[in-house]
């Protein structure tokens, strides 16, 4: 190729056109462009896409986890409040129960003591009546013996004596019962 422009001293111009080089650069760059479009750009785009997915997926996952955590926290708080209410209720119940038990026991104790007192009184009454019964016969015998010693004769007519004693005692008892109510009945035994 002849240079388009020639410098004054017949040197070739650096601006001269050279077809061989012109064509060469088009071929070389054309090949490079084809290879880059086929093997480079899609690869970069793919890894960008992958990364974007990874990041967006990560963000979505993180948000999900955060929502889950918030939900769990709320749930725990609700459970905690529920447990507190329940505990308070249980405490209240226990206090009521304790009070009830104390009342019960007190009632029982009072009943028991009343019962014990009543039985004591009953026993006392029966012992008293027994003592009275024993004393009565003994007093009769003693009075007879004493009278015998005083009178100096044998009062062997038992039947007559006994009826006399009995009558005497009945008189005493009648006097007593007139004074004190609720005295033991049946003191007068029928004469033999």
């Amino acid at each position: 190729m002849t240079p388009l422009l020639l410098a004054a001293d017949d040197e070739p111009s650096p601006l001269g056109f050279n077809l061989a080089e012109f064509v060469l650069v088009l071929i070389v760059f054309g090949l490079l462009l084809w290879l880059v479009s086929k093997y480079v750009v899609p690869q970069f785009e793919k890894s960008f896409e992958l990364r974007r997915d990874a990041i967006e997926g990560g963000i979505a996952r993180a948000e999900e986890a955060q929502a889950e955590a918030a939900r769990l926290l709320e749930q725990y708080n609700a459970q905690l409040a529920e447990a507190r209410t329940e505990a308070a209720q249980i405490r209240e119940n226990a206090r009521a129960e304790a009070q009830r038990i104390v009342e019960d026991l007190r009632g029982q104790a009072q009943e028991e003591s009343a019962r014990i007192v009543a039985r004591g009184e009953e026993q006392l009454a029966s012992q008293r009546s027994q003592v009275v019964r024993e004393l009565r016969s003994e007093i009769g015998t003693l009075a007879v013996e004493l009278s015998e010693k005083i009178v100096g004769q044998t009062l062997r007519d038992d039947a007559a004596v006994r009826s006399t004693v009995d009558a005497f005692l009945a008189d005493i008892e009648r006097e007593q019962s007139a004074a004190a109510t609720g005295a033991t009945t049946g003191s007068a035994e029928p004469s033999a």
């Binding site: 650096p14 050279n18 080089e21 650069v25 088009l26 090949l31």
Partner: protein
């Protein structure tokens, strides 16, 4: 080639580097001659191919694994990819950017690696300092942004969209339409290619000048006492320019890609 003897110096002359530095001989030894320069198998062509291979290898290796949690290499590739995809394509083209990501990505890394070859040891030549390579890429971009516009709006619609600015009084249109045609259809591919070419060309020429000049001052020039320190200084400046070239290489790749995106975006834009 001029052998410029410096006034200060005697001894072996200095061969000043010039545009011929860029007319590399091919591997059979064939050179530029008065009939022209019709060689292809030069270092520039080989480096161009290597640049494409390196660009593809870099992108392919970093893209291949495609892990959700990227390795260091994948991270680097993804950063680079996102830079072109989001920082250039999406920001400038707008909603329909996806289709043009492969083109912009290829352009950016193809131009970037080729430009960086300008300072890679043993390569030390940026293929785009051969203007025809830049012409080729710019022509491709030209065809693409016109085709995109025509497909989007139809041939007439695209011409109207490109050439007739809205909200302008009718009597001024005969003046504006040719201007718009010139700037949007004719000048764009030329500036696009020349910008890239000239930056690479100038950078390479500076590197050649300071390194061969430094070597000549240090080893060949005899005469003044200041020549050797000047040679050391020339080397230091050459190294600084090397670092500058890294920035220029990256910036030019970015600008080329950005303008391509701008042109495509302009073709797709709704009427303003």
């Amino acid at each position: 080639m001029s052998h410029t003897g410096l006034i200060l110096a005697a001894g072996k002359g200095y061969n000043t580097p010039g545009p011929l530095e860029f007319f590399l001989p091919d591997f059979t030894g064939k050179q530029w001659n008065e009939k022209g320069y019709d060689v292809l198998l030069t270092k520039a062509s080989v480096l161009l191919v290597v640049g494409a291979i390196v660009a593809f290898a870099f992108l392919r290796v970093t893209a291949r694994r495609g892990q959700v949690v990227p390795s260091k290499g994948q991270y680097l590739g993804e950063q680079a990819y996102s830079f072109v995809r989001n920082g250039i394509a999406q920001d400038i083209i707008g909603a329909k950017y996806r289709r043009y990501v492969p083109l912009l990505l290829s352009l950016f890394f193809f131009v970037l690696f080729n430009n960086l070859f300008g300072i890679v040891p043993f390569f030390t030549f940026a293929p785009f300092s051969r203007v025809s390579f830049a012409y080729g890429l710019a022509a491709l971009v030209w065809v693409i942004y016109i085709a995109v516009g025509v497909m989007d709006k139809g041939a007439f619609g695209f011409l109207k969209h490109t050439l007739v600015p809205q909200g302008v009084p009718g009597w001024i249109l005969p003046l504006l339409v040719p201007l718009e045609f010139l700037s949007n259809i004719i000048v764009r591919p030329i500036t696009l290619s020349l910008r890239l070419f000239a930056n690479m060309f100038a950078g390479h020429l500076l590197l050649v000048l300071f390194s061969t000049g430094g070597a000549w001052l240090l080893f060949d020039a005899t005469g003044s006492i200041v020549l050797k320190p000047a040679g050391v200084l020339a080397y230091l400046i050459g190294i600084a320019i090397g670092f500058l070239e890294v920035i220029v290489a990256t910036l030019q790749a970015y600008v080329f890609t950005l303008l391509t995106a701008t042109y495509i975006g302009g073709s797709l834009a709704a009427d303003h």
